[in-house]
């Protein structure tokens, strides 16, 4: 499937007109769901993702509770209508894997030991998917966790970098993911310079990996700023101040 369509034009611009190191337009809204303890909605390109956080709350069934810390649970799910071909609503193997890696990308940011015997639940519903949904989900989930008032070491921000037409590019969209040579989702706690998620498929050299990680960090710092602005604007709106 790789390389069948032209992903970079003669001026070095991508199919959606971006430069190699440019993010897609990102919109983050905070507190969009009334029931959830925290929530966020993100649009990144054509991705549209809703995230709700519940907790810390009593965990059911109780025997799964841990005496010394909270259990972080995470459910990444794609709505059947989110992709060109209708997806079965039952969780796919891909969704099971992504739920796990997203959980492990968020967990380093939380002080789970502060809330023994409880659970913190992160529910992610991908309403429309266009490449990079796991990263956009992490970005939104971190904001929703903050919105829920859960203490965090740092936010977690994420973006996928990749290789298209031999070049390292930031924030792949679906076509670039599908026809490009490599896809590398990365999540970081940007303030702490720590990587909490890293995956790759496709072929890359070690030098390319290094370059990709640097470019990812660059994009993540921009997203980090957007996260903080989104949180700030909610609390300013509601007349409260950020702590």
């Amino acid at each position: 499937m790789k390389g069948k369509i032209c992903l970079l034009n003669e001026e070095g611009l991508r199919i959606d007109g971006r430069k190699l190191d440019q993010l897609r337009p990102i919109k983050i809204e905070v507190g969009v769901l009334k029931n959830a303890d925290g929530s966020a909605y993100i649009e990144q390109g054509k991705n549209k993702i809703m995230v709700a956080v519940y907790g810390p709350r009593e965990l059911h069934p109780r025997h799964q509770a841990l005496p010394d810390r909270a259990v972080l649970r995470c459910r990444y799910h794609m709505a059947p209508f989110s992709v060109p071909e209708r997806k079965s609503p039952a969780p796919s193997r891909r969704e099971v894997e992504l739920s796990k890696v997203i959980r492990q990308a968020l967990e380093p940011a939380l002080f789970l030991e502060m809330f023994p015997r409880t659970s913190i639940d992160v529910f992610i519903e991908v309403l429309q998917a266009d490449g990079g949904t796991r990263c956009a989900s992490i970005t939104a989930a971190a904001v929703a966790l903050a919105d829920a008032g859960i203490p965090m070491r740092d936010l977690v921000a994420a973006v996928a970098v990749g290789k298209i037409e031999g070049k390292i590019a930031l924030d792949l969209n679906h076509l670039e993911d599908q026809y490009g040579e490599a896809d590398i989702p990365v999540a970081m706690m940007p303030g702490l310079d720590q990587i909490t998620l890293l995956q790759a498929d496709g072929l890359i050299t070690l030098d390319e990996l290094k370059e990709a990680l640097k470019l990812a960090k660059n994009g993540i710092m921009q997203i980090y700023k957007l996260q903080k602005e989104a949180l700030k604007s909610k609390y300013l709106e509601s007349g409260e101040e950020l702590g």
């Binding site: 029931n35 709700a52 059911h60 209508f81 992709v83 209708r86 309403l127």
Partner: protein, 272 residues
């Protein structure tokens, strides 16, 4: 916190009932007053049709996808309509992950019955090759925030997603089907607008909010077509209705369904 759902009612029940006696409700509405409905059409570009419906703080999204499939053997010249609802845990602390349970399934089946009885979509126009190949229309309904009356929100979201749906034209030649670039509107011909009532003690309110649902004795949903005919009824809950109560709901529901239809029409025109 999981207990809160059971404790609140005991306290709130009296408040709500006392207010109802005075002719008003916990959120300030009159007994026969529906919350404001807002619809966002075509929010999901990758779906053939989609809509987010808000009824107050209740929020539901529905998406329509068309898939080539086989007709049912007893309706070889008709397309297929499949309605699926998931009460995902994102929408409420009381929802749990897992495959659809009886509540999800009940909503999907009542929505399905309304659309089917009113012949909302002309399914014969979705037949491509008789007995062999038809469009299967999947309507997937996801609750996003549950503040009561998911039944109406789901039914409206499904109906609105159909209203704005566009489906690819196809050409058939020698039994081989070619899906064309050009799209045309789904053949939506009739309306199905559900209106739900809750009975609390001997009072009946329309469009119950979450707190009213927690303490309601019984529920009654009636769905109406554009001529004011009933196309689906579903009684729910542990309580009972008298014949007079049902006819009261039917009369009032018919009137409200017309207001809702009007409001949807207006909102749809605004985007076109």
């Amino acid at each position: 916190m999981a207990k809160s759902e059971e404790i609140i009612p005991v306290i709130k029940k009296r408040t709500i009932e006392a207010l109802l006696e005075k002719g008003t409700r916990i959120d300030g509405r009159k007994l026969d007053e529906y919350r404001e409905i807002s619809v966002k059409f075509n929010v999901i570009e990758k779906a053939e049709g989609s809509a987010i419906v808000n009824i107050g703080n209740t929020m539901v999204i529905a998406g329509v996808k068309c898939v080539l499939g086989m007709p049912f053997s007893d309706t070889p010249d008709e397309g297929v309509l499949i309605v699926n609802t998931e009460l995902i845990p994102l929408a409420s602390p009381t929802f749990e992950p897992g495959p659809p349970g009886e509540d999800d399934i009940e909503i999907a089946r009542v929505v399905d019955r309304g659309l089917r009885s009113t012949k909302a979509v002309d399914l014969r126009k979705l037949c491509i090759i008789q007995g062999r190949r038809v469009w299967a229309l999947y309507i997937d309904i996801y609750a996003l925030n549950h503040d009561g009356n998911l039944m109406d929100a789901s039914g409206l979201a499904a109906y609105c997603a159909l209203l704005c749906a566009k489906i690819s034209k196809v050409s058939t030649e020698n039994e081989s089907i070619k899906i064309l670039e050009e799209k045309e509107p789904l053949p939506v011909q009739h309306q199905a607008i559900p209106v739900t009532f809750a009975k609390i003690g001997d009072k009946i309110v329309v469009d119950p909010c979450y707190e009213e649902e927690l303490i309601m004795d019984a529920r009654l949903t009636l769905s109406f077509n554009e001529e004011g005919q009933i196309c689906a009824i579903q009684k729910g809950g542990r309580g009972v209705f008298t014949l007079d109560e049902i006819m009261y709901c039917a009369e009032l529901g018919r009137k409200i369904s017309q207001d809702i239809a009007e409001s949807i029409k207006r909102q749809l025109e605004n985007i076109q």
